[in-house]
Symmetry: C2
Subunit: 454 residues, 2 copies
């Protein structure tokens, strides 16, 4: 075949270090605040939640952080992931653009999430921790941490948003197959959960509530359990940078460099994973690469939110960070991209948008599934609803190239497959999918509950 | 990392020809019979069902059949697939055996089935065919052909076993996402379906009935529709030999040669795909490689069936072939490995077992899921219930090596992931999974309905 489709790297090319954006931010991040005192948090404040090794990564400004060999060995079960040229999509769109995607759906759980789950499990094990807690929405993160905890022989309890626990049992079963215990949230196991249930016994839960429960379960365990988090925090985002580092090498194999990078952004981890190593280029080599975070119109944190201090969770027990937020009490509409239903955004990613080093776009649910089905029919892969948000913008940009005649190189992160999300496609094909406008009133109301950090 | 986990090949190493076992069989296969006349079928007898190019492949005795470039180009979306050393499973079993698996679950639909689906869609398109029909059980084959037909712009109607249509909607939605029309079988669309429904309006269907409907829909279309088949026939098996050819090259990269090959066998396609290129070695190089087909105890075609002429389908409209069979009226118990619930077995594979070039083992459902969960917890991948049958025998053989101290090299085909089969794992984890003994009486009864070919 004259035309190459895939660019593969062997085990030896798994990156040896994670890239830490803190080393290259235009200005340092504002401090994280202790939710109790509203004063800058010290590493000790985080000690009930995370092992010290991860806390030090969280606040580190070292540019490169070595990846431990046991983590690289687990990565080798599926990493390096393929970089694929979407030639069939290009042909269908009749665009001169060159479209590439980094495919993270080849991991055992079908998404990018294990990149940090494995690292977190390793550092917890290394610190002698025998049990962890976490929350999960539809289950992508929970299944990744269940996979990782099992490999490092750590017990895991997962607080899963109740509506997903009931309606989407497949990822719950996956977590249980890996040996995790899964509880519908809100639960009677925590003070936060009991409080919500006292107000509303039929609460279907939310990610914010589930975070509150998982954080509380770790913080009140007397040190026997630590908490694992799937996005937002810096140590999570840096673990994901293996994606972008591999992509840089694979784009070199293809003899091209992206003009445009695209990824979906909920808390920011898959987007940062692809884009931060390119941000490093952008800053140090003074490139003008466009870097676009795509979010749902129903939860437009970066495009409509405020860059300010807010809680990471609904019950206000998680740390307070400076970020783009729609207000920690905001509950997004029930879009199928559960991983993008978060009121906030990673602080570093928020800062990069604020400083103009990347940009953000919000897209509607129907247009997103239009693009996802077009992608499935051309490239074969049925994308996760979250990843489909990136596809929508890629298609738009490729069609702009068709109009302008520009041969731009577009690279996006296909962060996961949609094999657990077929009911979303069913709703789309059945004409039952709803579009949601920007929820201006609900956001305005939530903004009145921002913490006072003056 | 000193220890390599994955062995990858780039696009250029996608095989350029399929391997045809017919060239190397110890004795030629007995002729296929026309189900109407019980006389040896001519290529023209198949013409209502298949394009002539596939019929000629079916009867060819050429050893190598060139893979058309457009087929190789589609293969490049996911092929070559990785060969993975199961080091973590080896460690858990504490075995000196070296365990490798060829992982076909990386295809867009999550199984090996597209290897032949893409080829069949290509040859139909090349013959000017605009519509195809097929049957599917739980949907693995149907989704593969839906994926392939979409790429070659062919309409597809799928007859899906009714109980799966109702209880396992996810793969149905996948087929519909690729644009296929899916009907619950038995349906009112065919004579065969109507006949079954007249006898039993509540029939939950079977693979044999669905085959009858799909074959009839093509045969009575006046030439406008052809039929696609997912296993059993020679042209299907030969398309799968890309698996084994790649594995041979990847085992060379690993510096080893398998002592034991293992695969699950329903109709035989994934097993033949891995093993036939090694059979070529075994015959031409006089090797003593053990080659083991694994089937469910509930449907033990090779281990308990008879090597004789039988119909390929329940309604006796499909061709009559010499094969191991439990009788075409035999309906296996409702095990979760739907792809292994077939009364017959590929004729060439049957002949190779009969001639002692490969062997067969039957395993129970509970032991199979024990092994699958052990594999998921060590290697991370949740296997399809079909593929899990191979894992069970691999674990057994590896434990024998532990006892004997032998450092055998075991290679198996992990033909698909189980992300669409989580309810099976749920039943297992919940202690609700049934084991089924050999259904001796039902088989004896079915054997009384074998066709008279004297």
């Amino acid at each position: 075949m004259s035309k190459q489709t895939k660019y593969l790297l062997d085990d030896s090319r798994i990156p040896e270090a994670w890239y830490n954006i803190n080393a290259d931010l235009p200005v340092p991040l504002d401090p994280v605040l202790n939710p109790g005192t509203m004063q800058p948090a010290t590493p000790d404040d985080f000690a009930p939640l995370f092992p010290m090794s991860l806390i030090l990564q969280e606040v580190s400004s070292e540019r490169w952080i070595e990846i431990p060999e046991p983590v690289r060995e687990v990565y080798s079960l599926w990493r390096p992931t393929p970089l694929i040229r979407a030639r069939r999509l290009e042909a269908v769109l009749d665009t001169p653009a060159h479209i590439y995607y980094k495919y993270e759906g080849v991991s055992p759980v079908g998404s990018h999430k294990p990149n940090t789950a494995v690292a977190q499990a390793f550092y917890n094990k290394d610190a002698g921790i025998k049990a962890m807690t976490t929350e999960t929405g539809a289950g992508q993160w929970g299944s990744a941490l269940a996979f990782a905890c099992n490999l490092f022989d750590i017990d895991l309890e997962v607080y899963m948003v109740k509506v997903s626990y009931q309606q989407k049992p497949y990822r719950r079963i996956m977590m249980e197959t890996y040996g995790a215990e899964v509880y519908a949230s809100p639960s009677e196991r925590t003070h936060s959960g009991k409080g919500i249930l006292a107000q509303d016994p039929d609460s279907s839960g939310s990610l914010g509530i589930a975070i509150s429960e998982a954080v509380e379960a770790a913080a009140t365990s007397g040190g026997s359990k630590k908490y694992g988090i799937g996005s937002v925090l810096n140590h999570v985002l840096l673990h994901q940078t293996v994606i972008g580092q591999e992509a840089i090498e694979q784009m070199e194999m293809a003899g091209e460099y992206p003009d445009i990078l695209v990824g979906c952004a909920g808390g920011g981890s898959n987007f940062a994973g692809l884009s931060y190593p390119f941000i490093h280029h952008k800053i140090t080599k003074d490139l003008d690469t466009r870097i676009i975070a795509v979010e749902p119109a129903a939860c437009p944190t970066l495009t409509k939110g405020k860059f300010t201090y807010d809680f990471g969770d609904t019950a206000a027990v998680a740390p307070v960070v400076k970020m783009y937020t729609l207000g920690h009490t905001f509950v997004p509409a029930g879009i199928h991209a559960g991983g993008l239903r978060y009121h906030g955004m990673s602080p570093s990613l928020s800062a990069l948008v604020e400083h103009g080093l990347m940009e953000a776009l919000a897209v509607g649910q129907l247009a997103t599934f239009d693009a996802a089905v077009q992608f499935a029919k051309s490239e074969g892969i049925i994308a996760a609803p979250e990843s489909a948000h990136a596809i929508k913008v890629v298609v738009d940009e490729a069609l702009k190239c068709k109009e302008s005649g520009e041969e731009k190189v577009i690279l996006f992160n296909l962060s996961g497959h949609g094999h657990f999300d077929m009911t979303a496609y069913q709703a789309y094909l059945g004409g039952e999918l709803e579009d949601y406008a920007y929820p201006a009133e609900a956001v305005a109301e939530a903004m009145t509950h921002l913490p006072d950090v003056s």
